[in-house]
């Protein structure tokens, strides 16, 4: 079992590795394509600049990107008293500054944390979650998220989300334009894009595997255990998880890229999405918690 400090170092290293792999992958793919098609080498420079820029962006603005993708808005103390004060209190107990507090207007129940370190962190919950959990249950959910903040899980998960999101947008674009251009036989550009598209489609499962490797499911158990250590209320976390698993409303704004950020899988019962699932089944998490009672 790793301790918190090893976990933090681990996460910082993995974040670096993921960024390097991303830059390497984009550059290699573009290099291979431009080499085999005898294209201008300036394409490679553009690719390197683009991949560096998106890595840079994912590190510094990853939290803002994730929040705006989820259409989150800041929560006020008056409107969401319990959520706001619980986050305040648990940050105090965790010896970290109070993160920014956001909410998503959605009947679906879910929560996530994002940011690059405890000084630049955001905790976000859906209004559905805030309505259905009582204060003690909410406390354990927020404690779970704050443990992701303290462990630097948020840095790794946010970077992975944004970069995977960028990749899947690229794949989509390339694939669509290759379909679109196929009728136009003599168009050189269309051919290039088609090749890029096919290469990326071949790589997509490998990328998915990569997410799995980067975001080991163990960190969810670790965050659950830290939440119990902080609040001493395993039963409340069990109740909260049970309520979360009984919720069948899908979170509209979630995508495969951002799914790993949430406390539970935001796609309810979707087979294809659960292939990419980075969350252990809730039943297993509850079993682990019941042993702490």
């Amino acid at each position: 079992m790793v301790n918190v400090y090893e976990q933090i170092t681990n996460n910082k290293i993995r974040s670096g590795v993921i960024i390097s792999l991303f830059v390497l992958f984009i550059s290699t793919a573009v290099y291979l394509i431009s080499y085999s098609l005898n294209l201008d080498s300036s394409l490679l420079i553009i690719a390197i600049i683009f991949s560096l820029a998106s890595s840079f962006g994912s590190y510094f603005w990853g939290d803002k990107i994730v929040l705006s993708l989820n259409q989150a808005r800041p929560a006020s103390r008056k409107e969401f008293f319990n959520f706001y004060t619980v986050t305040e209190n648990l940050s105090l107990a965790n010896l970290i500054p109070t993160p920014k507090i956001y909410i998503i207007d959605s009947p679906s129940m879910n929560a996530f944390a994002t940011g690059r370190d405890p000084n630049h962190a955001v905790v976000c919950a859906t209004t559905g979650l805030l309505e259905k959990l009582n204060r003690s249950e909410l406390e354990t959910v927020v404690a779970h998220e704050l443990s992701h903040v303290k462990n630097y899980d948020i840095r790794l998960m946010t970077i992975v989300s944004v970069l995977i999101g960028t990749l899947s947008i690229l794949i989509n674009m390339a694939y669509r334009s290759s379909l679109f251009r196929n009728s136009d036989d003599n168009d050189n550009n269309g051919g290039v894009l088609a090749v890029i598209g096919f290469v990326l489609i071949i790589f997509a499962p490998i990328i998915a595997q990569l997410i799995q490797l980067a975001i080991s499911r163990r960190r969810e158990y670790f965050a659950d255990a830290s939440a119990v250590k902080l609040t001493r209320q395993p039963q409340s976390l069990i109740n909260a998880l049970k309520k979360l698993s009984s919720d069948d409303k899908k979170l509209e704004t979630a995508s495969t890229a951002t799914a790993s950020l949430y406390i539970t899988n935001p796609f309810k019962g979707n087979k294809i999405a659960s292939m990419f699932s980075t969350h252990p089944p809730i039943e297993d998490r509850i079993k682990a918690l019941e042993q702490m009672l």
Partner: protein, 192 residues
């Protein structure tokens, strides 16, 4: 020779990091004690003011409800006595009560006391939580500190470096809380 040097270097590094860790914990323990004071001060400033404002509203709204109840009572009495004079007087009381109720409803469209009391209860729970977490921080930090100076390898050098156990959150250990009486062993009976 080089091995001995390496060994000394490793030992020195260990002692330095151990010393720094304990010093950092001591500072954090000191800060967490201050945090408890900070939260107590917040509570002392906040709660009496909230209670006063709730009381003010309660008094204000209670007066109107009392007026109305009295008016209703006098109506009942007047009807029972079948006396025209009394009925007139009762009607007057009622219209007075209703007009002051109207004023309140216009100035604040809903009766506010229940909302204020809910708010007060939320704040009471929150302030109790804040104090509990502030104390827990002190307890956890001192437990961390104390266990590093009494376990191997820290125990070998802690006293040489002048580290003493921290008291943490002082709790009486010889009072009733660590004993359970026969009475307390029984299942509680709840009567409402």
């Amino acid at each position: 020779m080089i091995y001995i040097l390496a060994l000394i270097l490793i030992l020195a590094l260990f002692v330095f990091s151990f010393y720094n860790k304990l010093k950092r914990l001591q500072v954090q323990i000191g800060a967490s004690v201050q945090e408890i004071g900070n939260q107590l001060k917040r509570q002392a400033n906040l709660i009496p003011n909230l209670v006063d404002s709730v009381k003010g509203y309660m008094k204000h709204e209670k007066g109107i409800f009392e007026d109305l109840t009295n008016a209703r009572k006098s109506v009942d009495e007047a009807i029972a006595s079948q006396d025209n004079k009394k009925i007139d007087k009762a009607q007057e009381l009622i219209s007075k009560g209703i007009s002051s109720l109207k004023v309140i409803m216009e100035s604040n469209p809903e009766i506010q006391t229940s909302g204020l009391i809910n708010n007060l209860m939320d704040e009471l729970r929150d302030t109790a939580d804040k104090l509990m977490y502030a104390r827990r921080t002190l307890i956890d930090l001192s437990a961390d500190y104390n266990s590093s100076i009494v376990t191997i390898p820290g125990v070998w050098i802690a006293s040489a470096l002048g580290f003493k156990a921290e008291k943490g959150f002082e709790t009486a250990t010889n009072s009733d809380q660590i004993k359970v009486t026969d009475e307390e062993m029984k299942n509680p009976k709840v009567t409402l």
